[in-house]
Amino acid sequence: MAVGVIVIIAVVAGIIILLILISAGLYNSIISLRNKVDNSWHQIDVQLRKRYDLIPNLVETVRGYAEHERETLEKVINARKMGIDAKTVKDQSEAENMITGTLKSLFALSENYPNLKADQHFLRLMEQLNGIESNIAYARQFYNDMVMRFNTRIQTFPGNIFARMFGFNSRDYFEIEEAEARGPVKVSF
């Protein structure tokens, strides 16, 4: 009789301990994924800062050759300011898409100024910006991969129970909002 009771208690205690261990593992995996998302966001940030640092330099160089293209230059500066001030992922991705777009029109504009195109300083800045641009794309790819894993974990069973208990929210993807990038490419001669 006494032995039977002890066995039952032991089994129940064992099941409870097992459940605690499983939920601890799950909780930890969610936290570690969330940290990975944060860290990968930081990686994008590092690349964005590098670009912010280059833009004033670039604008000054272009201004030296193309003083009256003020409108385009101002757009670049404003987009940069928006990016620096951005607080949320959504704002940030919008601002970044704008910077990429304005930089593109700046480069297109340089086609009209042969002296500018031949400037060594300008060429080096272009090369650096291209490198950073592709790094941003890779960083965004990694960030989105991490967001996908995090969101999947907290939206599927049993992670969704934890998410509701501890208030984990799905993260936003870093999206390309640019109309040009989505729509078909227009070619005009």
């Binding site: 990686q43 490198g131 794309a137 890779y138």
Partner: protein, 312 residues
């Protein structure tokens, strides 16, 4: 993938333990031999065993920390600066961001053959080595495929296992070679100086010598077993996830397989490379089962299936 990482860790520990046991046994055998020659009263066997155990443990620790440097040394790889080759720096930087890894060191082997490998004890100390031929002959997309493949080896901890195997197993091969030779010479001298006595012991030594002789091919088999050709397939597919362009690596492998010979590669380091450094032709001569690399045609076929033929 996480399963693969923990498997790699287990194999690394297994190989280190095997190494320590082997060296300790060698120490014991050596002491036992000296005991036999100079009388049993001197406890050389225990002394040598303890001594060998300490040495083996020190060697294991130092192989963990220095195996990557030894690998770089014996393959003749030299560091490349950003100024010398900005292209490779830009590409590795971008792809390591995509893989979520710290920027690895970049080294180069002065060889016209096209090949590459990764080494290091963990991602923080990762190194990717390219041959000059590879950097000169591949376009950006193909090079991106190769870099992603090597970054996957870093991510999967294949690099630690690979480097430890080079050092520890290579060391066992050298030691067993020395012992075998000393037994042959020692045995000859003994027979002339002492005409009688120790019939059973001399048989034991003969058996031990034969066992060591058999050991070399066994070591080679251990390398091949531990490495498992699957890891190349796994690195190919993980790499395609990083570059998002499987066709890049497929096209690179097509080029590399035409001319993959690296002069500084040896049997000890062959398993590290992205493609057999003795050339794909050399592989055909051996049985496929024992080669360290899966057939390149099979790898290309799998990559093509991933990319649905786009870009090939």
């Amino acid at each position: 993938m996480y399963e693969h990482i923990s498997k790699n860790r287990a194999k690394t520990v297994f190989i280190i333990i095997g190494f320590v046991i082997f060296i300790t046994m060698v120490g014991f055998a050596l002491g036992f031999y000296l005991d036999y020659r100079y009388g049993m009263s001197s406890n050389y066997s225990i002394l040598f065993m303890v001594f060998a155990l300490i040495i083996a443990i020190i060697m294991s620790f130092s192989s963990y920390y220095y195996s990557d440097k030894i690998v770089l040394g014996i393959t003749g790889a030299k560091p490349v600066s950003r100024e010398e080759n900005p292209r490779i720096y830009y590409m590795v930087e971008g792809l390591s961001i995509a893989a979520g890894l710290p920027m690895p060191g970049i080294y180069m082997i002065e060889d016209n053959g096209m090949n590459a490998f990764a080494t290091g004890r963990n991602p923080e100390h990762g190194v990717i080595v390219f041959t000059r031929g590879l950097l000169d002959n591949l376009n950006d997309q193909e090079l991106g495929g190769v870099i992603s493949h090597e970054l996957s080896h870093i991510k999967n901890y294949d690099i630690l296992l690979g480097a430890i195997i080079v050092v520890l197993v290579g060391m066992i091969a050298i030691i067993s070679n020395i012992i075998l030779r000393s037994f042959i010479f020692g045995g000859g001298r003994r027979r002339t100086s002492r005409s009688s006595g120790g019939g059973i012991l001399s048989i034991i030594f003969l058996v031990l010598g034969l066992a060591l002789l058999i050991l070399s091919p066994i070591i080679a088999t251990i390398i091949r077993m531990a490495i498992s050709r699957n890891r190349e397939f796994l690195a190919d597919s993980t790499g395609a996830m990083i570059s998002r362009y499987p066709a890049g690596l497929a096209n690179a492998l097509k080029k590399i397989s035409q001319h993959s010979q690296v002069k500084t590669a040896s049997n000890a380091t062959a398993h590290l490379f992205i493609e057999n450094p003795f050339g794909s032709k050399a592989k055909a001569a051996f049985s496929n089962i024992f080669s360290t690399h899966p057939p390149v045609e099979e790898r290309i076929k799998r990559l093509e299936r991933m990319s649905l033929g786009v870009g090939i």
